[in-house]
Symmetry: C2
Subunit: 237 residues, 2 copies
């Protein structure tokens, strides 16, 4: 099986397709300012993402807590972070802020690049987000997905191997007919270990204060691309 056998591209979403950090900082700032609350909104966004969502998924993958959705993990951490600020939002306001993850803005090249790529490939999410979140985000941001594969549909979170294998099965493809596209090398390495092809697209502005983003191209990936338009050009779209 060669690279020309690839029929579907599966994309990491948070960070790779959408700029979660800028959007979340903006909406947190607006929501807190409306209540006259001063806070470090960058730190708020980073803790929400890395302690709440990423930490929650790690605990689920280790078997320390029951399977749940990204929406639920976000809600739980938001309640904790707001409590630390004196709980300035009422229930409806907090629920509305929690849905910021459903309306994240795309990186500038994402809608157009995906549009080019879908002329030759099935383009699908392969995200730890839940289906409703991903569908609402697509409608908000004009992301022209062909389909959605998500942790709640597959019953596994990345980077468990079964996530990548069940994604290929759901598409009725062999792992070598699927290429994972991500800004995060750990995601790509886990996909490659399951037989998927890999394309690395660095997103230098993603990470903020917690950890440096992955930036350097690597020979071990099948493709390294500056953005989705570059990837489309390399793939002949």
């Amino acid at each position: 099986m060669t690279l020309s056998d690839v029929q579907a591209l599966t994309f990491d979403v948070f960070g790779t397709v959408v700029d979660w950090r800028t959007t979340v900082i903006r909406e947190v700032s607006t929501a807190l300012a409306a209540k006259g609350v001063e806070a470090d909104c960058e730190a708020f966004a980073d803790r929400w993402r890395f302690e709440g969502y990423v930490g929650g998924i790690q605990a689920i993958r280790r078997g320390e807590r029951a399977f749940t959705t990204a929406d639920a993990l976000h809600c739980e951490k938001l309640d904790e972070l707001l409590a630390g600020l004196g709980s300035p939002l009422d229930g409806a306001e907090a629920a509305e802020l929690n849905r910021v993850w459903h309306r994240l803005d795309p990186w500038p090249d994402s809608p157009g690049g995906l549009g080019r790529l879908r002329t030759r490939f099935i383009v699908s999410t392969l995200s730890n987000g839940n289906l409703a979140l991903l569908v609402n985000m697509a409608k908000h941001s004009g992301l022209p997905w062909d389909c959605f594969l998500s942790a709640d549909l597959l019953g596994h979170f990345k980077s468990d191997p079964e996530t990548y294998r069940s994604a290929a099965r759901a598409l009725t493809l062999e792992p070598g007919q699927v290429m994972m596209v991500a800004a995060h090398k750990a995601d790509l390495d886990a996909a490659a270990a399951c037989g998927l092809r890999t394309a690395f697209v660095p997103r230098p502005r993603e990470h903020g204060r917690i950890s440096p983003p992955d930036l350097e191209y690597e020979d071990r990936f099948d493709f390294n691309a500056a953005d989705f338009h570059d990837l489309a050009a390399q793939l002949g779209c």
Copy 2:
């Protein structure tokens, strides 16, 4: 909860959105004529559909056979039907013919009607077809789905109640926020029993020789519409 709470429309696909019978008869005729085989292609299509696919799903729902996909049920019955004609197709030709179910033509109002409906609602499949089949069909026919819910993703075939309940859960909606759209009253009645709203859209040309299609409007459905444009108009899209 009222009709104005509906946020998502879930559609039966075979017969409601696409004209499986005309497409299958045409492709079977072409494939057999190329081999000089004369056959009753209408009867071939009806047996493929009703004995292979519908009958296979009924056996799975009764627990008489293991869960499998629409693709596999179609393949099994196709092999049997071709054997009855002296197996005129080789393996690759039969596999290609089996994929006719991935390239079914839509009813004329389906692409445009779905496009109108998705301006106000999430429009999703809720089909006993498998994901790859539905995604390929959407690309072939220009069906602008927001997302796909399918038997293989949900682990249940209609009209098992868990199919409708798990569809609402996957959309993070209450059953009463979801409306099932179908040309088949049994599908709508099963959805209504799970708390979903219902819209009936008759497709008089679907059935062929096996059984008469459902045609009469019914007061027990929330909406009765002549086609998807009429449904869009009734829903204010």
